[in-house]
Symmetry: none
Subunit: 236 residues, 4 copies
Amino acid sequence: MRETSRTKSADKAGESITEAALSAAAETAPRRRQARGERRIAQLLTAAAGVFCRTGYAAASTNAIAREAGVSPGTLYQFFPNKEAIAVELGGHLLQRAHEAHGRAFLLENLDRPLPDLLDAVLDPVIAFNCENPAFWALMHGSGIPGIAQEHDELHVGLQTRVEGLLRACVTPAASGAPATDTELAHVAHMVLGIMKTSLELILASEGAERAAYIAQLKTVLLRYLDPMITTPPPH
Amino acid sequence: MRETSRTKSADKAGESITEAALSAAAETAPRRRQARGERRIAQLLTAAAGVFCRTGYAAASTNAIAREAGVSPGTLYQFFPNKEAIAVELGGHLLQRAHEAHGRAFLLENLDRPLPDLLDAVLDPVIAFNCENPAFWALMHGSGIPGIAQEHDELHVGLQTRVEGLLRACVTPAASGAPATDTELAHVAHMVLGIMKTSLELILASEGAERAAYIAQLKTVLLRYLDPMITTPPPH
Amino acid sequence: MRETSRTKSADKAGESITEAALSAAAETAPRRRQARGERRIAQLLTAAAGVFCRTGYAAASTNAIAREAGVSPGTLYQFFPNKEAIAVELGGHLLQRAHEAHGRAFLLENLDRPLPDLLDAVLDPVIAFNCENPAFWALMHGSGIPGIAQEHDELHVGLQTRVEGLLRACVTPAASGAPATDTELAHVAHMVLGIMKTSLELILASEGAERAAYIAQLKTVLLRYLDPMITTPPPH
Amino acid sequence: MRETSRTKSADKAGESITEAALSAAAETAPRRRQARGERRIAQLLTAAAGVFCRTGYAAASTNAIAREAGVSPGTLYQFFPNKEAIAVELGGHLLQRAHEAHGRAFLLENLDRPLPDLLDAVLDPVIAFNCENPAFWALMHGSGIPGIAQEHDELHVGLQTRVEGLLRACVTPAASGAPATDTELAHVAHMVLGIMKTSLELILASEGAERAAYIAQLKTVLLRYLDPMITTPPPH
DNA sequence: GATGAATGAGGATTCATTCAT
DNA sequence: TATGAATGAATCCTCATTCAT
């Protein structure tokens, strides 16, 4: 009974250059229509971000999102088959935006920098992004609640993977505190992600000096936690 | 948006021994009724704990709790004015039970033990308690979600205070990494609490060796984070 | 997530005689409560019958049924988990009522009466019942429409079985027009049921003389259709 | 409750050859547009037939029809003012197609053939047509359900009229079982139509040998029902 | 003509909470 | 006290229909 599934952007993406060239003029109209749709989607995602931030994912209602976006419920459902889909799409958008804005920072060229620098290089963009897009944090909190979690876990898993990769690249196997196995490394990654999540909660809830203080604490925690895994103690 | 009006049963629960003693002889019947009431409350709170664990606080329905307790919804509302009140009372009970079971550990006699021992002494009971009463963690996760959070925050604030007290007692002001001000100390306490929360999520979600590994990681994180606040580096 | 399922009457049925005797007085109250429930159920079923008759099963809305019954939607859902359940229960009730009212007619003692008498004996009660309970016909018309049919088909299958049984008992194997195999007999039963269904549509839609005429036609059709299966032609 | 306003495309469909001829030369463009329109209508009706068959008339959604036809909902509404109109038009088309394909059979040249032959001559095309166009049967099942029925009843009435005509032509007034009045004849016609409808349900739902068996049963029923109205019993 | 976005009332269903018994 | 029926607003979602482009 549910057969809708937006393909919009896919169409556009699949549109061959020739075709595009041929119908330059004529396609203005369709494009405008699509543009309207895209705008609505953006509008809805923005609204959803707001509602998710204010009420959390679980308590957010599709009607509330539609209202916030200034459209009718029906319109929302023309673009998203259900609440989950909104969250998923929003997660994707945010992730992509994160990449575009601070992507370089993550796939570091210079992992051999001293850990404090490395932490700055990684955490600062992450924190900045989360402060600008607090919905991201809200989305990550669908997890743990059964029946809501599944889709969101893609988000989690994605982040988890990335953190794990970073760690794997940084860790000095010879270091005394380094995780010995892959499993152990995964545990460390989970811990790091968890620490970042809680810290972000504190960071997002505060401002100014306090926020700065929490940021500093986060860096301190991670620095002290990870340093023994990376720095080989000098032979005495 | 949701008008709370908690209390009521709290009084009853807080009823001091003295009061009870005063009405010893004549009040057998009423006392029995009160005893029955206590039993009902315990029954309901147990049921609530189960439901909160399974579905999370937000998704838990009062009807489900009543059903799990084997009573009618009306009966539930005879003891609790609303859903929040159940959570609050449950939080209180759990906290009290925690005290009774592992209370000594917290109000430490021996804060001058080396930090690893101290962490064991504090964390092991906490972890044990949370594993036995997973509802505790579930309850702490109403937070952050506006409209649900307020009442739960009493729980948070309580824990936060306690952690802060512990820290204050442990920290060596002369240590290089020690928080300089009360505010800073509060921040550290928040971080510690946050780290414990996330770690508990991982710990509760796993079993056996994995659980042990996460416990070890939690201790490692806190050890490394707090050590510089406590240990004065030896003058070289 | 759906755990409700009335058991009410089951409880009552399971209630042991001793218990019942012991609590004769005391059970008045509970019984009254149950009585209220039963009354509501009856009320809702009556309302449903009305709505099904007027709008057909598919177009009937639970809200409409509740409104017709003069209760809120929530009340309806306290007794029935969904629309289908109402139809099923109503079907059951009607069937039972049919049994109670005209049951003898069906399990005939005198199958050896001449066919016209037999048809009268069987059809008159059926027709009377359908005229008094036009919802029955409405219920049988959920069939054929995919996604609605399944539950109703129990009704169909039940009737089909009964008609088949009757036929099997009546048919004279030696008769020239008699169905040779069980499959053939089943086909005949399907036809007979179908003829009854369509005829009932006409009968229910008319009144007075016209209704009588349609009843006569129905009997004529069946008489002429079935007679050769029952009557052995006299050897000439 | 539902304001219908059918017609519109009917005119266009009924456009006589003369009219078309008049505007032969100059109206190439408009004609093309009209041709396109006809194609669209055909496309939509085909889609509607499919959807009606699969989901039944009531559950069919205009959006689903448009999707099946590969056009937008707006386009659908450019040709049909509402859902009912689609059904009506489809009914008309099917009827017309029936005429074109098997029309001769109906307006019989040889009503004086023996009844079995006559039934074959009439029913075989009807059955064939319904098997090829199962939507026809689906359409006839909007009836009986108030608020949906009215428009469809044109279909019914049409068929009813035709059956009545046939009967009137066949019946031997002198036959002992013949209907005495017009009203009676109308009743017989209704019965015959009803029998055909139910039988078609069984026929359409089965295949191969079973289908053949049901076809045979249908003929048997009608033969036995109608024979006494047509055959004058030999004077003894 | 065609598109597809937009509408908004309506449908089924749930749930915190109240009330009569 | 305990019950369970009752409430009604709110939830998610659908659909016939309209409208701007």
